[in-house]
């Protein structure tokens, strides 16, 4: 197990060291404005793992087993005008957390809290590769409950997000991004810190 960890880390170092070398051989993807009057649409598609960062609040009077680490996926389109500030939309799919439960009669159950964020976002390029994002909007929340019977229930919550990403250029219009983000559904006090790898593609320019 320790050897596998060492090997995967070594491989990651190699990838990170080599990528800039590859990119240098061509014009690089950059997060900064490319010139006055030049606009672009950029997509960010990514996935990764999130860790629930708030108080999960499982029923205290039952035996529960909490799972806070969940996969998440996001998709974002940003409009890059000819200045630093960008505007766009983000959506995705994530599970905040889930837990299994056992009541005093031995009956088992499971509950999961899932979300589809729909956010309006602003971002700024602080350097050619480093960006920060902040957004506000709604989270379409779903409870999946399986206890005695199955129940699926929905709620819309206001929410927000904040993120920082580092984009390694792959080509002139594409990059590989690493993003650390915090997603918060404010009405239900649910928050998750996620790390994602993203494919960044400047798919249209004018």
């Amino acid at each position: 197990m320790r050897n596998n960890k060492f090997i995967s880390r070594f491989f990651l170092y190699c990838v990170l060291i080599q990528l800039p070398a590859v990119a240098k051989s061509q014009e690089e993807f950059t997060s900064m404005p490319t010139g006055r009057g030049q606009y672009a649409l950029v997509s960010y598609v990514g996935g990764g793992l999130g860790m629930y960062a708030a108080d999960a609040g499982t029923p205290q009077h039952l035996q529960t087993k909490l799972d806070k680490i969940k996969a998440n996926f996001s998709m974002r389109i940003m409009w890059h005008p000819d200045h630093l500030l960008r505007f766009g939309l983000e959506t995705g799919y994530m599970t905040f957390y889930s837990y299994t439960l056992t009541d005093s009669a031995g009956q088992r159950g499971k509950a999961a809290l899932r979300a589809v964020p729909m956010l309006v976002e602003w971002s700024m390029a602080l350097t050619r590769r480093f960006n920060i994002f902040a957004g506000s909007g709604i989270y379409l929340l779903t409870t999946d409950l399986n206890y005695i019977t199955k129940t699926k229930s929905h709620k819309v919550s206001v929410g927000w997000m904040a993120a920082a990403s580092y984009i390694l250029p792959v080509s002139k219009n594409m990059g590989l991004g690493m993003e650390l983000k915090y997603m918060d559904a404010a009405e239900t006090s649910d928050g998750s810190i996620a790390f994602q790898l993203q494919w960044v593609w400047k798919f249209t320019k004018w």
């Binding site: 609040g57 029923p59 439960l101 509950a111 809290l113 709620k155």
Partner: protein, 424 residues
């Protein structure tokens, strides 16, 4: 100063601006003198003599210039506990005490609370022999020549009471015109930080201490048709402890709610039956307003209303229960009841809807004004008018002094009680 510092300051400011959690726990009521073996319970006749309107001679900064004192009780099994409530106008404050006799004095031990904020503290009061206890304990009637003075101290939090409080009896409480003081959501809202959660059986048992003579409770149906008490359309952290469950309460079965959901103070969501049992068997309340918050047939609620009205009659209890009609949908379902014409109901809609549904009570929103002409019309039909939901003390005073309503729904029944009982 550089860019990094500004990013850090921004982040700090952002996280500093966050929601504060407020609490108002009932203080620890330990008082050695009160709990000594020599202190004994007060009889009914003694208790009644203490009720009245009192001028506050010391402690006005905390509680205002006057207070109305009234007893209530809670029945738990075969035990009945009696509580003396002091209703004050200032900052919507009240004091709740238990009373005992110690030799020739009367001791009152309890706590005070301001409803507009979270201030609370202990209260320890005495009626000494020379200040009226001798007359009260003598068995004879109290006359205008008797002076009843309550003296003692109040404190903050669990601190030892050290601030003087003195009240002098000036007149009996007003009971001239019957007036229903109805506590919203069974006693108050969860945001009022009461000792129990809104729409819980536990809060219903406390409502009369806060000045209520009646309660309004919100009835919804689970997915398997069990009527339960719950105000909001969805499960949310305002009313329940966080558990990952959200969305309409109608999506969940009673078994799921009963096992997995706890209200903010830890109580279970009560069924309507449990709530009516609490109101009927554990309290002196004489009115229950069932605010119908669900779509569909209300036959089940009607059947339960009949059952508990009959139980109340059998006990000689005098509990009135009305089915609430808040909107046209519920009105239409109400009219589908075979016996709607004789079903006690409270209608929030127009006067015409009151006539169509044969509701015995019209309940307009207070924001439409006093509507004295309309209320007089209702009275001419032999019906009553309740107004909802007032919380601003200045408005409550105006509606009681200038209005003709027969009852008022409030999250602050104590201040309604003050203005009603202290009327001259």
């Amino acid at each position: 100063m550089n860019q990094k510092m500004f990013i850090i300051i921004s982040a700090v400011l952002f996280f500093v601006a966050c929601k504060k959690d407020y609490q108002a726990p009932v203080p620890d009521l330990e008082w050695d003198l009160f709990n000594s073996s020599a202190a004994s319970k007060l009889s009914d006749s003694i208790r009644q003599k203490i009720e009245g309107v009192y001028n506050i001679e010391e402690g006005q900064a905390g509680f205002g210039v006057a207070s109305a004192l009234k007893w209530s009780y809670t029945i738990t099994g075969t035990d009945t506990s009696y509580f003396l409530s002091f209703f004050c106008a200032q900052d919507v404050s009240y004091i709740i005490c238990e009373g005992k006799r110690l030799d020739s004095s009367i001791l009152l031990n309890g706590y005070w609370r301001k409803m507009i904020n979270t201030e609370t503290g202990k209260v320890q009061l005495t009626i000494s022999a020379e200040n009226g206890a001798a007359a009260i304990l003598s068995g004879r009637a109290i006359t205008s020549l008797d002076t009843i003075k309550i003296t003692g101290f109040y404190g903050f939090g669990n601190g030892v009471p050290g601030f003087p409080l003195q009240l002098r009896h000036v007149r009996p409480i007003n009971k001239a015109k019957p007036f229903e003081i109805i506590a919203h959501r069974g006693g108050g809202r969860s945001s009022d930080l009461l000792p129990a959660s809104e729409n819980s059986a536990e809060l219903i048992r406390l409502a009369s201490k806060f000045g209520a003579t009646g309660i309004e409770i919100d009835v919804r149906l689970t997915s398997d048709g069990v009527p339960v008490l719950f105000h909001d359309a969805t499960l949310n952290e305002r009313v329940i402890q966080k558990n990952g469950l959200l969305g309409p309460i109608e999506n969940y079965t009673y078994a799921q709610l009963n096992t997995l959901v706890r209200l903010t103070n830890g109580e279970r969501i009560p069924t309507l039956r449990e709530a009516l049992n609490a109101a009927l068997f554990n309290t002196p309340l004489h009115y229950v307003w069932l605010d119908t918050k669900f779509k569909g047939s209300i036959q089940q609620v009607r059947d339960m209303q009949k059952e508990f009205l009959q139980k109340s009659d059998a006990m000689g209890r005098g509990l009135n229960i009305s089915i609430g009609i808040p909107d046209e949908g519920v009105r239409d379902n109400f009219l589908l009841l075979k016996d709607y014409a004789i079903t006690p109901a409270v209608c929030e809609l127009s006067l015409q809807d009151v006539a169509v549904t044969h509701a015995g009570i019209w309940a307009p929103r207070w924001t439409l004004g006093l509507q004295n002409d309309e209320v007089n019309d209702i009275h001419a039909q032999g019906k009553k008018a309740f107004v909802w939901t007032l919380d601003t003390p200045e408005n409550i005073e105006q509606y009681i002094s200038k209005g003709n309503f027969d009852g008022m729904l409030s999250n602050y029944p104590s201040v309604v009680a003050y203005y009603y009982y202290a009327q001259q």
